[in-house]
């Protein structure tokens, strides 16, 4: 049977992708940000998951305003990196484990999560930047990737509690799939950032650190936080953090924090990163 062994929380700032793609990661502005992922790259090389279940949000790229799914599960054979206005990122195509994705889709719907199945989808920086941060520059992604796109652009995003429970359902779905596969789940987005209007540039490191702390120690309580707290305290785009609850919900109640990194700034954003392992793993 497939086994979910660990979770990764990770920002997905587009400028990080640009820095990697234009080879300026050793500039003073970027070096400390990337330094915090050295251990992560080692870690994922050692864990070497067969499949990454990657929770992210589309930034009005694959989905325009005509159709806004709350949870969209990628079931296509592969996903091309999208042109977000400045040309597609020069990164490998993302390949799915299509049978596992279908299995998860069926399991989630029967578990009463009302997902949208996507049989064609391009993927934007929200998905490719975390892969780049964890795997570096590669010819092909070392893992198959099952994408779950969450609406966090049009209010309301799903609640933290719903995301947390979705994580539990994703775990059940993965671990009822009858192939011996090692799976790691990514929750992406955040941390505090506001990209728009007169309050742009908001950063709240105390809030971010408390979020990272409680992710390990008090995930159920943390998932009860109302949207307005994210919007007010972590910036209008900080509400992306709800996606980390899916990752956390998929893990054991008790987890070990393997690694943490926090850096300000990357463009407009506080970069946050955490690796959590199931104790049993």
């Amino acid at each position: 049977m497939a086994k979910l062994v660990a979770g990764v929380g990770c920002s997905h700032v587009p400028a990080i992708g640009v820095a990697m793609d234009t080879h300026i990661t050793d500039q003073p502005y970027w070096a400390p940000m990337f330094a915090g992922f050295e251990k992560s790259k080692q870690w994922i090389k050692e864990v070497n998951p067969d499949v990454v279940f990657l929770v992210y949000n589309d930034h009005c790229t694959a989905f325009d305003a005509s159709c806004i799914p709350t949870f969209a599960l990628g079931c296509a054979a592969e996903f091309q990196p999208a042109d977000e206005g400045w040309g597609p990122r020069p990164v490998p195509v993302v390949k799915n484990h299509q049978k596992m994705a279908s299995h998860i889709a069926q399991s989630l719907i029967l578990d009463e999560f009302d997902i949208t199945i996507m049989n064609e989808m391009e993927v934007d920086h929200g998905l490719t930047v975390p892969l780049s941060l964890m795997y570096g520059e590669v010819e092909a992604w070392p893992a198959l990737v099952i994408p779950l796109a969450v609406n966090v652009v049009q209010y309301p995003a799903p609640t933290g509690n719903r995301c947390y429970n979705l994580g539990k359902a994703v775990r059940r779905a993965i671990e009822s799939f009858d192939e011996d596969l090692k799976v790691v789940i990514f929750g992406t987005g955040g941390m505090s950032h506001q990209l728009q209007y007169k309050r742009a540039g908001l950063i709240n490191p105390e809030w971010d650190k408390a979020f990272l702390d409680r992710l390990t120690s008090d995930p159920v309580g943390l998932a009860q936080m109302p949207h307005v707290d994210y919007l007010r305290e972590a910036g209008s785009e900080g509400v992306e953090m709800v996606m980390w609850h899916v990752m956390r919900g998929a893990l054991d109640d008790e987890v070990t924090e393997i690694h943490r990194h926090y850096h300000v700034p990357a463009s407009n954003t506080a970069v946050g990163h955490i690796i959590l392992e199931n104790k049993a793993a």
Binding site: Q154, Q194, R199, H227, L231, S236, S267, N268
Partner: protein, 130 residues
Amino acid sequence: MTDKPYEDIPGTFVFDADRGREGYHLNQFCISMRLQKNRDAFNADEEAYLDQYPMTPDQREAVLKRDWNRMLELGGNIYYTSKLAANDGINFQELAGIMTGMGREAYRDMMLHGGRPIEGNRYKKEWGED
């Protein structure tokens, strides 16, 4: 009526359904900029290209003038308008420099020094707005 607990946050538009309705055609225009063929057509003749999108005169003027804050005031969302900005060679950080009125250098400098603090930036009343 529909609950909007976020309306007291200063300097911020929360993109809810009401804003989405207002900005629909503006945002659909902006997302069309993610394809090269549309960028080429728009850059060749902005007015003619915009005729395809039934936005309001104010929205159209905001696009033509690149009045980035006005676009948001009229229902635009940053993930859409940033695609028009990308067409103009403006990235997210430069766009924030414009929207905050700080200018590129001062904004970049603020970010390098830890960003805009949360203290004093939680409530409209802290900004002297009600």
